[in-house]
Symmetry: C2
Subunit: 323 residues, 2 copies
């Protein structure tokens, strides 16, 4: 199946994707141990998983980084959600490996191997952000029509509440996620929620989106055909760092006009940062771009104040279960 | 000087407190290393302190827990802001002591000794909370008329923006803070701001309150007399924990009707928690009480979902510098 990235006008693809049944699904919480909505939901489903079971689907709730969860920290040694590289997954096991690399190998054995026919069909990975991004589905491929159809289904089911779609296919900024072990990886990122805090509104939003996504898989496995459609996404363009001094310390903050304005257009000349001494630094560049992950706590150490995206309309061809 | 805790009607005390000049002032940031407004402000003032200097006052900016700041963690071994007990401060030094206990001893040498005439006059300790508390001054004594007058000055200078006052004189819930080393300890707690995040609005609010507080000290040291006045405070009553299971894991979240409603009245029968399976747990007790630190990230481990307070009006007698 070819990737179809169409700017306007959007045209309907003629093909239909016959996709194998999605019988094995996992829901990961605690890939980052201080993102508590996913930790709490998955913890609850480990005790009683009735809510996430569907006819014709075996859904496994799974705490991805239990040691980080125990410490209520993002990670212990290194970011698990960057650890699923070919190099890490093939490294010789041993206690000298960072904890998260060993854990990535274990997850790869349980839900993979990544890139093989034995891998799980779908992994939902539940994350929270301190950014004001609302509900966001994160996709790793613009040509995964099964996932695009799922996104469309979720968006329709959630309306009028919105659910944004972030597409990260960037050759440098794409990273090796926990969910990448599955054939169809899907991140669910809901915010704003501080690290180490569980907010009921965020918890319930996440729960609802997952419900609709599992409903989609059930319908799909029952043989329902989903007609061709279009999906609006925000494609990752580039990382923007904070202004910093020679020691790497930040010298400016996200400007109050940009703070909390994820997904809103940012054009050349718009305020972007405010220095500690009160000066405004403006965005310069082609635009408008659509920022996301604005002032995310975890990304200070990754030299990222926000990521820019551009809007695109993807076309999803009709999908139906392979007979 | 007697403590005067008056409920309505408030009456003016007849006395005037002649207080020694407050010549030595410190501003602490990073008592908790992941509360970034104080860390950023103090870091800035360490480089250039002109903004916090006043005529007749020597103001020292000071990063209280540099190792925690480096890790962007609340603490390394134990909470520094609970470490200033007589036992810790008199413990025999040595590498086997927790880092924060050694640091508390060092701070006590630099700015104390606590409870002696040699101690600094004022320590402002800058904190952030994930709770929606706005700007809050935290007092440790209802009979510190110098501080009460400062609070009144700050409130008038900030109006119409509000600045709440939390009084923690609770025999069990009061704790041994970093600022308690000084003769006049004052906590400044501003939120909501996630841990590990620096928000420009929170940074600027904190900066402004400290400006007005330092202005007060300058006026006081110049001989200005501040007339008797009253100050409305919220007095700490009790700690309320999350519902938990036998393993200590929480089984409910702060109810959406209570979330973000710090300082608003909570009466018997009002929603307080929402269990994961959707049941509402109501507050039961005499009321109304006024909750604060609702869903503060750092207090999950301290078994506290919020603290209840009651409103009181304190009377501050006139203060003037001792001639
Ligand atoms: Zn995450
Ligand atoms: Zn603090």
């Amino acid at each position: 199946m070819q990737s179809r990235l169409l700017s306007a006008p959007w045209t309907r693809p003629a093909v239909r994707a016959a996709t194998p049944r999605a019988g094995r699904v996992a829901v990961f919480g605690g890939t980052h141990g201080n993102e508590l909505s996913g930790v709490a939901l998955v913890g609850m489903w480990v005790k009683d998983g009735a809510e996430i079971q569907r006819s014709g689907v075996a859904t496994t709730p799974f705490i991805a980084n239990p040691r980080a969860v125990e410490r209520c920290a993002r990670y212990v040694d290194t970011d698990l959600n960057r650890a699923f590289t070919a190099e890490n997954l093939s490294a010789l096991s041993g206690d000298e490996l960072p904890y998260e690399v060993r854990r990535a190998q274990e997850i790869n054995r349980l839900f993979g191997p990544k890139g093989t026919a034995d891998a799980y069909d779908v992994i939902f990975d539940l994350h929270n952000t301190t950014s004001n991004m609302g509900c966001t589905l994160i996709l790793e491929s613009s040509s995964d029509h099964f996932v695009l159809q799922m996104v469309r289904h979720v968006q329709k089911a959630c309306a009028p509440a919105g659910c944004s779609v972030l597409l990260n296919e960037h050759p440098l900024l794409k990273y090796s996620t926990s969910r990448s072990v599955a054939k169809h990886p899907i991140g669910l990122e809901v915010g704003p929620q501080p690290q180490g805090v569980l907010r009921s509104n965020i918890f319930e939003s996440m729960r609802l989106i997952l419900k609709h996504a599992l409903d989609f898989i059930e319908l799909f496995n029952c043989g329902v055909e989903f007609p061709a459609c279009s999906v609006d996404v925000f494609r990752v363009l580039e990382r923007v760092d904070y202004p910093r001094d020679a020691n790497g310390n930040i010298t400016a903050m996200v400007h109050p006009h940009l703070q909390d304005c994820d997904w809103e257009p940012l054009s050349s000349g718009d305020p972007m940062f405010q220095t500690f001494d009160g000066r405004t630094i403006e965005y310069q560049g082609p635009g408008p771009v659509y920022p996301a992950f604005i002032n995310e706590a975890a990304y200070y150490e990754k030299q990222q104040a926000f990521v820019t995206t551009r809007r695109e309309t993807l076309s999803a061809c009709a999908v139906r279960k392979l007979q």
